[in-house]
């Protein structure tokens, strides 16, 4: 892995280039969420219809495979690239998946991190996690962390930082030869603990940093300070990855603080709901936008394709958009698919998104 900052904005935001595997990706960049390695809806042969190389980074939680596929078998098959038949993509392994593998701080203990998953509550020890990393062989992986929600006691929060650092060292010592390591940084909603954790991790031999423990109860107002406390302690030239930010505004907050890579569940929830993002990316269009919600219930940032107003709408979701969905299908067709509960609706909507979201530019609000 190689990363270099290309340009700086007035604040902490920066544009960079990430070389990972066979891909060269401009940052800030959004990772695609996956379930057992494949997108939630888009089937693998349609992935090539998404813009490349922006959509080549896939977030994988190795915990997904615990439901029905042994690490031994994955290893035998040859790791994620062989398992998933995706040779042009890069895998970023983070245990937490904000949809289905949620950190369960009450059950986490000194032995391992607990997650609430579809196969029940699982306790993952560092050595088990590293076995998953060795078997799946992602290009990039984050160390195991003890993520706690914003409301825990100071004592519990402090313990989470101590544990996360200890597990970081354990993971690194068990680290396979390939794959870039991102050190996990936690600290809840305490500026002090966030700073302390970041300073510790900054001294470790890692290729980048994963900021965890966010999106677990802290408010959007608290976040910039927490992010700054972390980022200030980190070297500029190494990339930063964050999970748990949802809305575009939150992502922009992250970019403004100096984060380069994001994983968000926003797209998944929108897709399920039948929404399509329609906000413009052009600065002049943004200024002209009236951001007050309209009477129809959707706002200028997104449309709800279930609404009856789209029954006969033969426009593509966004006029002029060149994604697969907009080139081939109309709002009326997607409206119909949503009404008859056909999965193709979600497939088409998920395919529509990355064209918009993946093309975030580095500009302050």
């Amino acid at each position: 892995m190689k990363f270099a900052v290309k340009a700086w904005s007035n604040g902490g935001a920066r544009a960079g280039i990430l070389h990972l595997g066979t891909s060269t990706i401009d940052t800030p960049s959004l990772l695609l969420s996956t379930r057992k390695g494949l997108p939630h809806f888009i089937s693998p042969d349609l992935l090539s219809c998404l813009p490349s190389p922006e959509s080549r980074l896939l977030h994988v939680s190795p915990l997904h495979f615990l439901e029905g596929l042994s690490m031994k078998t994955i290893s035998k098959i040859g790791g994620l690239h062989q398992l998933l038949g995706l040779h042009d993509h890069c895998f970023v392994s983070v245990p937490r998946d904000s949809i289905q593998c949620l950190p369960e701080a009450n059950s986490t203990n000194k032995i391992g991190a607990s997650f609430e998953t579809p196969c029940g509550r699982l306790l993952i020890k560092p050595v088990e996690y590293m076995e998953m990393i060795s078997s799946t062989r992602p290009e990039l992986w984050a160390t195991l962390a003890d993520e706690v929600p914003a409301w825990v006691s100071d004592k519990r929060n402090k313990t989470s930082v101590d544990r996360t650092i200890k597990w970081l060292d354990e993971c690194i010592s068990l680290s396979p030869a390939s794959g870039a390591v991102f050190g996990a940084i936690v600290g809840g909603s305490s500026l002090e603990e966030r700073r302390r954790c970041a300073q510790e991790v900054a001294t470790r031999n890692v290729s980048g940093y994963w900021v965890g423990g966010l999106g677990l109860g802290e408010s959007m107002d608290e976040r910039p300070a927490l992010l700054n406390a972390v980022i200030e302690a980190l070297p500029e030239e190494k990339p930063r990855l964050i999970c748990g930010l949802g809305l575009p505004e939150e992502i922009l907050q992250g970019i403004a603080a100096g984060v380069d890579l994001f994983e968000s569940t926003y797209i998944y929830h929108l897709t399920l709901g039948g929404f399509a993002l329609t906000f413009p990316l052009d600065r002049t269009q943004i200024n002209a936008l009236n951001l007050a919600p309209s009477d129809v219930g959707s706002d200028p940032r997104k449309i709800n394709l279930r609404a009856t107003v789209f029954r006969k709408d033969t426009m593509p979701i966004v006029e002029g958009c060149t994604c697969y969905t907009c080139r081939n299908h109309t709002r009326a067709y997607i409206n119909h698919l949503l009404n008859v509960h056909e999965m193709l609706a979600q497939i088409l909507l998920e395919m529509f998104f990355p064209v918009d979201k993946g093309s975030y530019q580095c500009r302050p609000i």
Binding site: S43, C49, G68, L84, G85, A332, V340
Partner: protein, 361 residues
Amino acid sequence: MAGTIKGLATYQLEEIGCQIILGNTYHLALRPTSELIDELGGLHKFMNWPRALLTDSGGFQMSPVDGKPMLLTPEESIQIQNRIGADIIMALDDVVKTTITGPRIEEAMYRTLRWIDRCIAAHKRPHDQNLFGIVQGGLDPVLRDICVRGLVDRNLPGYAIGGLAGGEDKDSFWRVVAQCTATLPEDKPRYVMGVGYPLDIVVCSALGADMYDCVYPTRTARFGTALVPEGVLKLKHRAMAEDTRPIDPTCACMVCKNYTRAYIHSLVTKDAMGSQLLSFHNLYYMMQLSKNLHSSIVQGKFPEFVCNFLQKMFPKGDIPEWVCNAMEVAEIDISSCCAPFRYIQATKVQSNLNEDEIQAV
């Protein structure tokens, strides 16, 4: 389909080699309605499918979704199908289950004949939509014959053999198909509705049928079952969890080229992606089967193809009797795939010996 093959985009269907898709008139009439489809330029445009479409009459699925039985007249059925705009439309017929006996079957057959005239009269787009008639008559050869003659008299673009694939025994099934294909015109397509399993398609093709429709490939995919030359492969089986082979090593589809049984096993019944991938493979399998049937006939190698197909599906030679009988009538020699005992069983049918006499021998 209700405007889409479950979980697959039109791009994928084109890749698989799908040439014609069946649209479910009943569902489309309910949502988004045939009027809306018409207003937006027809079903081809609505779903952006550049190839062929066929709609059924809407009459077969009368079971209510909203609690009200839907009474459909021939005129209404054709009107709805005219609006939807498929390339082939089906006449409204009176279908009865083949497991029923009695005067109802005869009634249904004559009604079907009366209705074909009403369908023809109501058809507003005979130049761009081909109206197929449907042969009914249950399992009664006399009734079937009357129906065939009646439909052929109307000189329709194509003919369907209906009322089958509903629970009748296989022996009765193939005999009805054989009778119909023997008497329907050679130069028009014969479409066996609701068929079906790969074996059934091979047999019906041997008997002279040309077109089929079935939900089986996609439906069975959603239950975790893959179609393979040996029959079926149940991906849910625990044994699949460690199987690193592809579903079908002889299959060239995207799923078999990229995925192991183990991975698909981890998806099926838990993640929609499992159904998607299996549906893709199963449809590809069926398209390959059709392609192979077609090319083997064109190349004059059809009997070899049939034998090869049967050998893979019945490696022990235990080919069902009904298949042997049907192939005999179709004049396809499959003796090389039948285990000797089974072949004797098949020829027993030809003789007039009854059970007791055979025991004595």
